[in-house]
């Protein structure tokens, strides 16, 4: 990000960067940056809080009016109030995990769990008017089937021209995760940690993606191993056995 600022500024365009990782910004020395104390992925702070976001963006833009520089790195003082857990949040009900941890059982659970969450996902969409599902360009049921077939070890062909099977697997896993994170919130506002705990520890999708990661890492297909190692389970959620 800071490098982009450098290139654009050299071409005559004034820039100000939001910084989420202060040491990185200190190393790269952009013309102007506002460091924010928010979690990665939230450069302008809490969702659905226009007043807070406005304070962030104005604090950044006002650095453009400073007469002296470079380099300017300033800190934004306010914490993201949505980083705190929502005590009243309850995830949508789903069946408890089965003791049968076989690939077939995991795949079948994933396929049957997805439609159970449709009502919760509808509540999400009604409240927020958007969804981040879409990288695979498959419907969510087809996404679930595609991922489930990989869990079963079938290595299904890509259903989309121009996209390899491993790439489609990555995008389908992304879409399944997006669906669960949206359905998990429904019409409520849990923290990202609450949603992540639920997805990775309590759902069939979490269990299936963990198992899929383990299976693909054992593959001889280097591309599949790359996808599995980097693009399925967040580093903070990887279990020692997976």
């Amino acid at each position: 990000m800071s490098a982009l600022g450098h290139y654009l500024e050299e071409e005559g365009i004034a820039t100000v960067a939001i910084s989420l990782i202060r040491p990185q910004t200190e190393n790269t020395k952009p013309p102007r940056a506002l460091w924010v104390p928010f979690e990665l992925g939230r450069p302008f702070g809490p969702p659905s809080n226009p007043a807070f976001q406005r304070r962030v963006i104005l604090a950044a833009l006002r650095l453009l009016e400073r007469a002296s520089g470079p380099v300017i790195i300033e800190d934004f003082a306010e914490e993201d109030p949505r980083a705190q857990p929502e005590p009243g949040w309850h995830p949508p009900p789903i069946p408890a995990a089965s003791v049968d941890g076989s690939a077939e059982a995991l795949a079948a659970r994933l396929e049957s769990e997805i439609p159970l969450l449709q009502g919760a996902h509808d509540r999400w969409f009604t409240r927020h008017g958007r969804t981040a599902i879409g990288l695979s360009a498959l419907g969510i049921a087809d996404c679930g089937r595609y991922v489930a077939d990989w869990v079963r070890g079938k290595a299904p062909a890509s259903p989309r021209d121009g996209f390899s099977a491993p790439l489609m697997l990555r995008f389908a896993v992304d879409d399944v995760k997006a669906y669960y994170l949206e359905a998990g919130a429904g019409a409520e506002k849990p923290s990202s940690r609450q949603l992540g705990d639920w997805l990775w520890n309590e759902t069939a999708a979490g269990a299936a993606i963990h198992a899929l990661r383990t299976a693909c890492l054992a593959s001889e297909d280097e591309r599949l191993k790359l996808i599995a190692g980097n693009f399925m389970v967040p580093a903070a959620r990887v279990r020692s056995a997976s």
Binding site: M1, A3, L4, G5, H6, Y7, L8, E9, E10, E11, G12, I13, A14, T15, V16, A17, I18, L20, P23, Q24, N27, K29, P31, E39, L40, G41, R42, P43, F44, G45, P47, S48, P50, Q53, R54, I57, A60, L61, L64, E65, P70, R82, A83, H128, G129, T131, A132, G134, L135, A137, L167, L181, A185, K189, S191, S192, N230, M232, A235, A236
Partner: protein, 153 residues
């Protein structure tokens, strides 16, 4: 919750110490008051308009996001899965603050909002991005942009 300190130590250190070109210059462009600036967003979140080709890896080029893009049509295709996406899922302004910019323009706090915004894929080597960034500067000038807010994830 994915602060740097929540990541495994090795990965947190890698991010904090990410290599960057050692620039020989320290450019600095001054300009008019904020109320006369035309502002564009340049994101490194791997943003893509629904239906267009997502970033597939460390692609060095950028995607175009017209100002009339609807909030339900902006997706993240960044290759990293180690940052929070739930904020963006709920409200695109968390990453792409177009609504906030439009409000600031309407009340005169900034001059205007660019007709087009852009996204790179931030995990790409900056050296590979350089020619695309310099070409992008030309596009921004054609749109009379005088300030860019750089939005990472």
């Amino acid at each position: 919750m994915t602060r740097l300190t929540d990541l495994p130590p090795a990965q947190a250190q890698r991010l904090a110490e990410l290599e960057c070109p050692d620039f020989a210059t320290r450019p600095w462009v001054s300009g008019a008051a904020l109320s006369r600036r035309r502002v564009a967003i340049v994101s490194s979140a791997g943003l893509v308009v629904r239906g267009e080709d997502p970033f597939r890896g460390r692609d060095p080029d950028y995607r175009v996001i017209p100002a009339e893009t609807k909030r339900e049509d902006l997706l993240i295709s960044h290759i990293s899965i180690n940052f929070d996406r739930t904020g963006f899922q709920e409200d695109w302004n968390v990453v792409f603050p177009l609504d906030r910019l439009n409000e600031l323009a309407a009340e005169g706090a900034i001059g205007s909002v660019a007709q087009t915004h852009y996204s790179f894929m931030g995990a790409t080597d900056p050296v590979q991005m350089e020619p695309h960034a310099r070409e992008l500067a030309g596009r921004l000038k054609q749109d009379a942009v005088t300030a860019v807010i750089l939005s990472p994830v």
